[in-house]
Symmetry: C2
Subunit: 324 residues, 2 copies
């Protein structure tokens, strides 16, 4: 990323597919100056393998390996393992592609050898040629659980097996309270040349809140004296993808960028919202930058990333102006 017009380092907070789109844009602009802190609340053990859906989505996206049509997993994927597993009477509710499986097997092997998830993820990112740092939010276990019309469900049962159909009443992030900051995340947030923190347009409840639910993380984030900017996952009162709008309605709030602003109140200094959400910008009591936020191509991702970095720079300038 030589010739980048950006100086200093940045931290992004991301869930899976939606957040990874912005992370890609940021990564193309910032390269090794970007650390993406990724939600691990969805991680689970399945078939004896450790599965980290959000980390993998970010890895594949930044490595240029993700399947853009299907919207998840690897491009050129095949499903012969799953077919054979079904033939053996194995569990087949969670789809694991043949290529994707290599990542789960290799990660599980390295974890069993005693490496941390942070070390394993760094190793795999290097192997895949990813220049930015992909950091699990913690090496300690945090599990997102859903209180729903079907009772309390582990995240993947709710998200994949029940396909978010049960009505969501509340969320728990088991383990978050005691989860420790990894050295890598602490270093990223405490970097002297840190210029901004960007919350990617992931589902605030399912993907970003598990990160913020860790007091150790929240404290380090708040101690970082840099602008915090979120990119809203809502466009024209609907989520681009996934259950964000449905969950907002079930939690009794209007699916809107205003709701996103209120959700992150006290935490963010500015919000990037879609151009179509024009009426919203007045109601949001925060600096707002409007731009088309739908990301279909890598160029879209880069454009929205540029907007988020611009808002960071603008907020940093303003902060400097009011400084004594």
């Amino acid at each position: 990323m030589s010739g980048t017009p950006y100086s200093g380092t940045y931290v992004a907070l991301s869930g899976g597919v939606g957040g990874a789109k912005l992370a890609l844009g940021l990564s193309r602009l910032l390269g090794p100056a970007l650390s993406v802190v990724v939600n691990t609340g969805d991680d689970f053990d399945h078939l004896g393998l450790r599965i980290c859906p959000d980390i993998d989505s970010v890895l594949y996206k930044l490595a240029g390996l993700s399947d853009e049509q299907r919207g998840w997993g690897r491009a050129g994927e095949t499903w012969n393992f799953m077919q054979a597993l079904a033939g053996l009477g194995g569990e087949s509710w969670f789809q694991l592609g043949d290529r994707d499986l290599a990542l789960h097997v290799e990660r599980t092997r390295l974890l069993r050898q005693g490496e941390t998830l942070t070390e394993v993820t760094a190793h795999i990112a290097r192997q895949l040629g990813v220049a930015s740092h992909i950091l699990p939010m913690s090496d300690d276990p945090v599990s997102t659980e859903i209180d729903s019309s079907e009772g309390r469900l582990p995240f993947q049962r709710y998200f994949v097996e029940h396909q978010c159909r049960p009505v969501l009443h509340g969320l728990h992030y088991a383990g978050a309270r005691v989860a420790r900051l990894s050295d890598a995340v602490a270093r990223a947030l405490q970097a002297p040349d840190l210029r901004g923190i960007i919350i990617c347009p992931s589902n605030p409840y399912l993907s970003i809140d598990p990160i913020l639910a860790m007091p150790a993380f929240l404290k380090a984030l708040q101690a970082a004296d840099v602008p915090v900017v979120a990119v809203s996952p809502i466009i024209a009162n609907a989520a681009v993808k996934g259950p964000t709008a449905k969950i907002m309605r079930e939690l009794g709030v209007t699916p809107s960028s205003l709701t996103v602003a209120q959700h992150y109140r006290g935490l963010i200094d500015g919000l990037v919202i879609d151009s179509s959400d024009h009426a919203e910008s007045d109601a949001i009591s925060l600096p707002v930058l409007q731009t088309p936020t739908l990301m279909k191509t890598a160029e879209d991702s880069e454009r929205v990333a540029r907007a988020a970095l611009e808002l960071c720079a603008r907020l940093a300038g303003e902060a400097r102006k009011v400084a004594p």
Copy 2:
């Protein structure tokens, strides 16, 4: 297998591919009246998965899933997992097909849940529609190790990674001395209607000796008052497949059916040898049945199986004649 002309039950001893060919023939003739006791000396942990090469060869062969062209693994196999694993910098010296992988993942999962290898194998055999009983030689670990020109090597390193190239000086079956008989193997060998025990044409040193090296097994085999018949893996002083002849030369013996007879001396009551080994039959001081033993098709397997069962019946008849 209704209408079978065979009464009673049989036990076969088998290694992987070579032995599985005869096991297939026996299985087609005997169905659930056959128990195949399979070598587990080659079993090993790889990538966090428990791999049982000989059990899998027998499973796939009897389920009609084996790849006849390649000679190992599953038909219609794909290799996308391996390719992706190599891309992650993972270990790629041991080839695991995408479909084959399902078996290793499911077996490892069930073993971790506390099931025995015998239980897991029975479950998988049922799922694959195999009527005969496929029994691991023991649920206790036995590891075949090779003393070679490259030092002592675990079996798979010798067999797969070094492709049997190092000169073999000796073999060890670590754990064999204390390995216990499983209930399933004990029941098969002690069955009141047992009619014969057949040693399949597997490599005597690498595949059959690990089974016989268990004192618990050898004692149960010798206590079974039925004919024990071996099918020679040697045709015209060469092994049909694999390193049997090479190993015999390295151990200082001539690759021949006579050597096989001498190797199993005191244990077997008769030997099935190939029609081409005519000169041998006189030198072997045991009842011999000659028949073409090359097995290329399922019909070949059935024909050789019929010969082995015929020799068992003949020996049982003779035993009856000399009984008081």
